[in-house]
């Protein structure tokens, strides 16, 4: 049986950062990913990564305050402090690895402005920051010769009671099922954006890790906090970076007005994302739209700046909607972008361990978008997510190595786990052709979620979405997998991903219904105010043995910033 001290599931930025940290100490670590590492969705990050560098007159506590305020005071301040304090060193680490950040005249790292922050502290590589960092991280993975299970799909966590001992996975090329033993397992499987349509997320962002952990008994926290990004392309929903507005682009409606004047007179287009997305939605609902979109106007930035700093969004606007942003404004609208919630972890990635007692799943760690530490609370600031991946990717590796050094492998029967999985998969293959096709079912789910849990939410709308999703669980049992073969059966993989997305969808809806206030990205028209008296707390959802969902609450950790009204 394959066996490792530390096994990292996922090879995006969080996963690679974790694996790299472990590999540098010579640990027996491996990474497993359903796509080649550089295909991971971290490559889509365009705008940049935040850090407050003291030698540039910035201060990490300012960054932390902006993050706390951005989170609408739902973020845990101890975790936010850790992230913002370590940001500077980690940014330098990235530079030392070889990331080619844009520079100032003296050759120091240069910054750009980003939403919701009072200082320009976003470091960037043109508008391909995620790709540039991801590829350099992969260079390091090659340098340290980390074992990678390329194109393996993790299907189930191997559990004994409350302890995780590794994973069952499918080698996609052959279709073979394997069990991999690990003393510590790190989930770095990314977000769940495909639960909605339209979405900026890649097709692979199906919330697998959240679902794997949830089924194994770990709680998912604040799942209702789904970020709508203000500038996603008409049609496909592909993202145009906030960096465009950071460089000075305007948002205008059909009357040609810079409508943000009405909603955030100080920060204008650079108010926090939830604020801008709501403003756009109001404009669109009031009829100041074209085909359900408002416009992003970059023209006044000039061709030279656009081609130097925004050339990728220039390329995709031209490719996907035929608009040359140097000449015309491009139609955009809010679209689902990021999952602030996720697997509840502590600041060392553990899932999770207050004072030596594993309250989630023992031996399980999580980092990146799949985890909820929580540093983003109700609303993530732009360019804080890449930071989250590297900071907590690294920390979770340290936590996992520590755990692995003190614990031995879990004993289990490889055959039982492999055969159990095979039987489950065969169940899908044996379904007759009378059920729904995978894509049809996913689209129904995604549209229902968009309708019921969009930028503005109501009790009735969310209940309707929840019922629809629960109904789909029944349809899912009969879902049709047309490809009956073994090798590279993507059809079967999609079915498995859909199963994961349904778990995410259900918990998002339940969390949304549960939170009876408006905070961050969760805006309810029936409870339109933030309610600090009753809701300064996280919502944790667990799956009971019979599939029922149980709720728990946890107070928000407040260290130095008391909740105050949020104005931009």
């Amino acid at each position: 049986m394959y066996s490792h001290d530390v096994l990292v599931l996922g090879a995006g930025l969080a996963g690679m950062r974790a694996a790299l940290e472990a590999a540098k100490t010579g640990a027996n670590v491996a990474m497993l990913s359903k796509v080649y590492p550089v295909r991971s969705h971290s490559n889509a990050a365009q705008g940049g990564i935040n850090a407050a560098l003291t030698d540039r007159g910035d201060d990490w506590t300012d960054h932390a305050y902006d993050t706390v305020k951005g989170s609408d005071f739902l973020g845990d301040q101890d975790a936010i402090e850790v992230m913002c304090r370590e940001a500077g060193q980690e940014l330098i680490n990235l530079e030392h690895m070889g990331v080619i950040f844009n520079r100032d005249e003296e050759g120091h790292l240069g910054t750009r402005a980003f939403g919701g922050q009072r200082k320009a502290r976003t470091f960037f590589v043109a508008d391909i920051t995620g790709q540039a960092i991801l590829h350099v991280m992969f260079e390091q993975i090659l340098k340290y010769n980390v074992r990678v299970y390329d194109e393996w799909y993790a299907t189930t966590l191997i559990m004994d009671g409350n302890r995780c001992g590794g994973v069952v996975a499918m080698e996609m090329r052959t279709g073979d099922i394997h069990a991999i033993q690990a003393k510590a397992t790190i989930l770095a499987t990314g977000g769940s954006g495909r639960v909605f349509e339209p979405s900026t997320n890649a097709l692979i962002c199906s919330g697998d890790g959240m679902s794997l952990a949830y089924r194994a008994g770990a709680p998912l926290m604040d799942m209702e906090m789904v970020q709508y990004h203000p500038t996603t392309l008409k049609g496909s929903g592909v993202l145009l970076t906030e960096g465009a507005r950071g460089e000075g682009a305007y948002l205008i409606n059909t009357k040609g007005e810079r409508f943000m004047e009405k909603y955030a007179p100080n920060m204008m287009e650079l108010a926090s994302r939830d604020v801008v997305s709501r403003a756009e939605t109001i404009e669109i609902n009031e009829g100041n739209d074209i085909d359900g979109c408002v416009l992003l106007d970059c023209r006044h930035l000039g061709t030279a700046k656009i081609m130097e700093r925004l050339s990728y969004i220039h390329e995709i606007s031209l490719d996907l909607v035929g608009v040359d942003i140097t000449k015309d404004p491009v139609p955009i609208r809010p679209g689902v972008h990021y999952q602030m919630g996720g697997i509840k972890t502590d600041i060392d990635g553990r899932c999770w361990d207050p004072n030596g007692a594993w309250k989630g799943v023992e031996g399980l760690f999580a980092a990146g978008e799949t985890a909820c530490v929580s540093v983003h609370g109700g609303n993530r600031l732009g360019a804080n997510s890449l930071l989250d991946t590297v900071i907590f990717g690294r920390r979770s590796a340290i936590g996992a190595m520590d755990y692995a050094s003190q614990n031995s492998h879990l004993n289990f029967s490889e055959n039982d786990w492999v055969n159990g999985e095979k039987a489950k998969l065969q169940g899908f293959l044996d379904n007759d052709a009378s059920g729904d096709l995978v894509a049809k079912l996913r689209m129904d789910m995604a549209v229902a979620m968009d309708k019921g849990l969009g930028v503005y939410r109501t009790e009735d709308g969310m209940q309707e979405a929840l019922q629809a999703v629960q109904g789909m669980r029944e349809r899912f049992k009969k879902v049709v997998v047309q490809d009956k073969g073994k090798s590279f059966n993507t059809n079967l993989i999609f079915a498995l991903e859909l199963g994961c997305m349904l778990d995410c969808a259900e918990t998002i809806a339940i969390g949304g219904i549960e939170r009876k206030e408006s905070r961050g990205a969760h805006s309810r028209t029936d409870y339109d105010k933030r309610d600090d008296e009753n809701w300064m707390k996280h919502i944790l959802l667990r799956q009971g043995d019979g599939g029922e969902v149980t709720k728990e609450y946890m107070p928000i950790v407040v260290t130095q910033w008391q909740p105050e009204e949020r104005k931009y």
Binding site: V38, N43, E95, H96, E105, L142, K143, I316, T490
Partner: protein, 328 residues
């Protein structure tokens, strides 16, 4: 509008697997990409069609395939631009890589070649406390190379790889260039020697296919040429692979002949490059020469200078003067 897409398929699970073409009719609109079309096929018509894709926005590098015979990113290519008069287009897996299933190819050789160029920065040590300083224009220049998404389109259509699997190929060499051009990496000398070896920079034939098909404007061939220039500047013409030495000499002799005659004398080029007295090598070329003669491709033995060659010579000496000046 209706599009007929013909897809080259291959199913390794069959007893005696053979590739075959299958046609699908799909309703598409003006903005439809090839990827939108294939996704529609697999979602609505035939779930067994295998292809890789993820981002839909030409950034993850998953979806390189061939459309009408040339490598493209499916998500960056509009159907309307590739339809024939009868409304059809042809899709095949990327070339030069073994097919696993349908449009999915084995990229292991690709990653192996990447590994072979030591693809990680090797800066001066110890690390400074803050960042390494670097000029912004160097960084901006590197953004263009870092724009490579490792999709393998260049590898698919590389004409050298078609006949020599040992060639490192355009993607790996473009990556190699990224380190040589990065002022923070201090191992240029070691790197240039390494890329000078068999399968390295001198094996590119400059056909330009990689530049044409690269969906991200990385222009791998130009990076390979820049590597050659750097190797020549650094006077690294020798290596254990004698082809490397010839590559360098070839360029010198080329320049010499043209600036003297105003045109290329291919026979002389070969003899001078290999060396007049390098009998074993020259004899080794006899079959090639005979083959060329047989196919009427033997260059003429006598190459008189072109009319007005004086002007060419004057240009050449001016260039030399400028080069000398610059070297000072």
């Amino acid at each position: 509008m209706q599009a007929n897409v013909s897809v080259r398929r291959f199913n390794p699970d069959e007893e005696d697997p053979k590739s075959y073409d299958q046609e699908y009719q799909v309703e598409v609109d003006e903005n439809f990409t090839v990827l939108d079309t294939l996704i529609k096929v697999r979602e609505e018509i035939d779930g067994s069609l295998a292809l890789r894709c993820s981002c839909r926005a030409s950034i993850c590098g998953s979806c390189a395939i061939r459309v009408n015979g040339h490598a493209v990113l499916a998500c960056k290519t509009r159907v309307s631009e590739h339809l024939s008069e009868d409304g059809s287009f042809r899709v095949e897996p990327a070339g030069n890589q073994p097919v696993i299933k349908d449009l999915v190819v084995d990229m292991n050789p690709f990653w192996d070649k990447l590994r072979a160029v030591e693809p990680y920065m090797q800066p001066s040590m110890p690390e400074p406390e803050a960042e390494y300083l670097a000029p912004n224009d160097v960084m901006l220049h590197l953004v263009d190379v870092m724009g490579c998404i490792m999709c393998g389109a260049c590898v698919s259509d590389c004409t050298v790889l078609e006949i020599d699997k040992n060639f490192l190929g355009p993607a790996a060499l473009a990556k190699a260039y990224r380190f040589v051009a990065d002022t923070r990496d201090v191992e240029d000398d070691k790197r240039l020697k390494m890329y000078n070896e068999y399968g390295g920079m001198w094996d590119c034939t400059r056909c330009g296919e990689c530049v044409t098909v690269c969906p991200k404007g990385v222009a791998p061939m130009e990076r390979i040429m820049a590597l050659r220039e750097k190797a020549i500047e650094a006077k690294i013409p020798t290596g254990s692979y004698d082809g490397a030495a010839y590559g360098y000499r070839h360029s010198l002799v080329f320049e010499d002949i043209v600036s003297h005659n105003g045109r290329l004398d291919e026979t002389k080029l070969v003899i001078k490059t290999l060396g007049m007295f390098n009998l074993p090598k020259l004899i080794g070329l006899i079959p090639v020469a005979m083959n060329a003669a047989f196919r009427r491709k033997m260059p003429p033995l006598l190459h008189p200078a072109i009319p007005g060659v004086g002007q060419v010579r004057r240009i050449a000496s001016r260039i030399n003067a400028i080069k000398k000046e610059a070297a000072k």
